[in-house]
Amino acid sequence: MRTIRGIPTVFTPSRALEWHCAGTDFLVALVLALPGRTFSTGAIWDRFASIMPESQWALVIGSIALVRIAALTINGHWRRTPLLRALTASIGAGLHAYLAMLFYVPSVSAFGIGAAFSAALAISDIRSAYRAGRDIVVAGRVWDMMRSAPPAPLPEGFSP
């Protein structure tokens, strides 16, 4: 019951972009972790393979995605969550800008689809960081109000 009450807080329109980026990263990590050699499907992956193997890429991208999903899930239940969201959005922006430049191989294509998608995700994360920054102030005000005028305790034996 408590979880059901928390869902409207976790999934709000202002955080949709963050969920989108986190979900995309998670799926990319899943595809890289699944059996098969994605890096052998084209010359565009050569630079990725030269940095680290496919499984390690899956681990790095998947870890960032899971941290973001965790931050979004507990959002609203902990005061520092907006700050955590802002930090993970910044990391996401750095990661996607990095991927965009790795996908950008002029000898293969002028501006590949992978580079375009990653650049769009990087811009989305910069926008998400802005929204999270605004939420930091809002959360601070709400918690200050809760501290000065705490809500009445629930009756004994009452479970919302």
């Binding site: 630079r47 802002a86 959005a89 910044s90 990391i91 996401g92 922006a93 750095g94 990661l95 996607h96 800008a97 990095y98 965009a100 430049m101 790795l102 990087a122 994360d125 910069i126 926008r127 960081a129 802005y130 929204r131 999270a132 920054g133 605004r134 939420d135 930091i136 102030v137 809002v138 005000r141 709400v142 109000m145 005028a149």
Partner: protein, 114 residues
């Protein structure tokens, strides 16, 4: 002019292997600046998060004439004496303690009428 272009070209060539890292750092910094911008923007915005607190109700006080104060004082003393007398007669106890006997039984024991 050619020397400037040559120098710029050499810098770009040198940065070529690092372009992904540079882009990543720039993306991270842009997000950091966005956070700061969001915080500043929200601090300047009118706060609609917390509703305006209702002003505290002014405590009600009675202003009495000095004669009435004396009357009230006498009544208070009379009430205290009456309370003390009833307590003495009935054996009543303070709140939180259990009386050892009922008021009627205490009055009978002391020779009073119930």
């Amino acid at each position: 002019m050619n020397s400037i272009l040559t120098t710029a070209g050499s810098y770009l060539t040198a940065a070529e292997p690092w372009k992904a890292v540079i882009a990543s750092v720039l993306g991270f910094l842009a997000a950091g600046l966005s956070i700061v911008g969001g915080v500043i923007k929200q601090r300047r915005a009118v706060d609609t998060t917390v509703p305006d607190q209702a002003p505290a109700a002014r405590p009600v006080t009675f202003r009495l004439h000095p004669d009435d104060r004396e009357l009230i004082g006498d009544a208070r003393e009379a009430a205290m004496e009456l309370t003390r007398a009833i307590k003495h007669l009935t054996g009543a106890t303070e709140d939180g303690t259990v009386a050892t006997e009922g008021n009627t039984a205490a009055l009978k024991r002391r020779g009073g009428r119930p």
